[in-house]
Amino acid sequence: MATTDADLGSPGDLDEGEREAVEHLLYRLADDEFVLAERYTEWQVRAPTLESDLSLSNIAQDELGHARLWYDLLEDFGYSESDLVWERPPGEWRHATLSEVPFAEGDWADAVLRSYLYDVAEGIRLSALEESSYARIRDRVPKIRGEEGFHRDHAEGWLERLATDSGGLDRLQSALDRLFPHALALFAPTDPEIEDRIDDLGLRTASLSEMRGEWRSEVEPFLSELGLTVPDADRHTPHGRGGDHTGDWDDLHDDFTHTYRELGRTEARRIMVDPDEAES
């Protein structure tokens, strides 16, 4: 897909158009991970068993950690964590709606199915970043990939077991009918012109439509095998990538920024060392 093999160099080497493309790509990546993790944490102390609670908590932490790595690359351009997370208006977030829609109480079928749909897409997306023309991105892919294997095994393990039960299968089907259009939103463009530029610059080596095709060819046989019917549905509107979201997003945003606003904070406290230092 890439029309050039040239390496884009370091953050300071980018021209305006390149930087815009990199930023769009990073917001897609970071916001998906952050918001989905935010939703996953709702299961803490609410999961079906103590062991499953521990496991999903860990997945939430992994995804948050990935968001942290992607946001850190946006900081290369002078943004602070406050700009990126705590003070960014909800209409400027670029995650797909799959990340933001709430879980109905007790809907564990949604949790594990959503994780499956997301993690397959995540794997495909990371593959397309391994040879990115932007070193800052491609260098972070292996660490993130290292945690996706468990997520995938965990989701598939649950799906296979829930699907053996007719009630479980019904719940999965209803979750699939609801989530599938949101999952397709994962492959929606933030801005079609900029997405083309992302491909042309070789920032990723597969286009959105190529990745969507690959994703469908992977999830559809697996889901059918479980006894589920993959809905013939279009991408959800709004899809989130353009900054337009469902009403649930505003509530979620309001909730996670609550303390920051209540205390009148202007910066976010760091505990861990900078990712670039941690790697050395």
């Binding site: 939430a60 964590e81 205390l263 505990i271």
Partner: protein, 312 residues
């Protein structure tokens, strides 16, 4: 084994599931460990909103990890309790949902603001850790083993709590004032964490005789006050005037029991205190909603698919 033998032999990690323990021991140990396990779960319940409401990415990660650990501690402890043969984990979790399971006084209070989090994460966890460290020498071996792992992890919790306290107390004036207010509100509850003085404690005698409990309420409270009053002062917190706490000549503390609200404490101990009841019911609703998943797992386990090959 009769109680007399148990009392004679009672020492650290002395008894394990292969010992034929008298029912009195097994019931007392179950009561104690179940209380401990329940407290981990209800403490996690109280802190979980702050995973979402933590004001930085790193803090959010830390809160998630801490709540995760507490659930992990519940897992270890329910197993240690289960190994006494009195109740299954499912029964204990069911009792917690039904308001029959008892847990620490502090976790019956609501926690609404982030500035309150160090009251639990530093002071209450610090108090709990003091007690847990002594329980590494409890006479029920599975309980002691659980304590090994709990104490290993807990240092992160207390330091995480202290770091938040330090951040708040070196923050804006508003943050400092809000934190002091939270401290004023929580301090008496924290003092009551260790229960009434030894003379008034109902279960202490037997548990101490059979080596389940290693230190008395008074000893633990003293050790806690010795370490944590200076810490509170270091960060600029003023110790509230009440309850009156006087330092004796021997360095130990005397807490004026009359200054504390024991009616409220015993109401809480019976699970009758309103915010606590709401928290118990809230957790029950969440657990009822996922009952179906446990049923699917149980059915799955019953079928050949989930069944391990016969062992012998």
């Amino acid at each position: 084994m009769d109680v007399e033998t148990v009392t004679e032999r009672a020492g650290p990690r002395e008894f394990s599931p292969k010992d034929d323990m008298p029912e009195e021991y097994r019931k007392a140990a179950t009561r104690m460990i179940q209380f401990h396990a329940n407290s981990e779960i209800m403490g996690a319940y109280l802190e979980r909103p702050f995973i979402r409401q933590a004001p930085s990415l790193d803090r959010k990660l830390a809160f998630s990890a801490k709540v995760q650990d507490e659930i992990g501690h519940g897992q270890l402890l329910y197993r240690a309790a289960e190994s006494l043969g009195i109740k299954t984990r499912e029964e204990m979790l069911r009792e917690l949902e039904e308001g029959k399971g008892k847990f620490l006084n502090c976790f019956h209070y609501p926690m609404d603001s982030y500035v309150e989090t160090p009251m639990i994460a530093f002071f209450v966890d610090g108090a709990a850790m003091r007690r847990q460290a002594t329980l590494k020498s409890t006479s029920w071996e599975p309980y002691a083993h659980a304590m090994d792992k709990v104490c290993f992890e807990e240092g992160f919790h207390v330091k995480h709590g202290e770091d938040i306290l330090r951040e708040l107390m070196t923050g804006s004036r508003k943050e400092q004032e809000m934190t002091q207010e939270a401290f004023d509100e929580w301090w008496p509850r924290i003092i009551q964490f260790f229960g009434p003085t030894d003379e008034q404690s109902t279960h202490h005698g037997f548990a101490a005789e059979v080596g389940l409990k290693q230190m008395s309420n008074d000893q633990l409270r003293n050790a806690f006050l010795n370490a944590y009053i200076p810490k509170a002062r270091k960060y600029g917190l003023e110790i509230p005037d009440y309850p009156r706490i006087e330092k004796r000549d021997d360095g130990t503390y005397e807490v004026r029991e009359d200054d504390l609200d024991w009616d409220e404490f015993f109401k809480i101990a019976k699970n009758d205190y309103e915010p606590g009841v709401g928290q118990i019911d809230g957790r029950k609703a969440a657990q009822d909603a996922v009952e179906w998943v446990r049923d699917v797992l149980d059915d799955y386990e019953q079928t050949a698919r989930g069944q391990p090959a016969a062992a012998d």
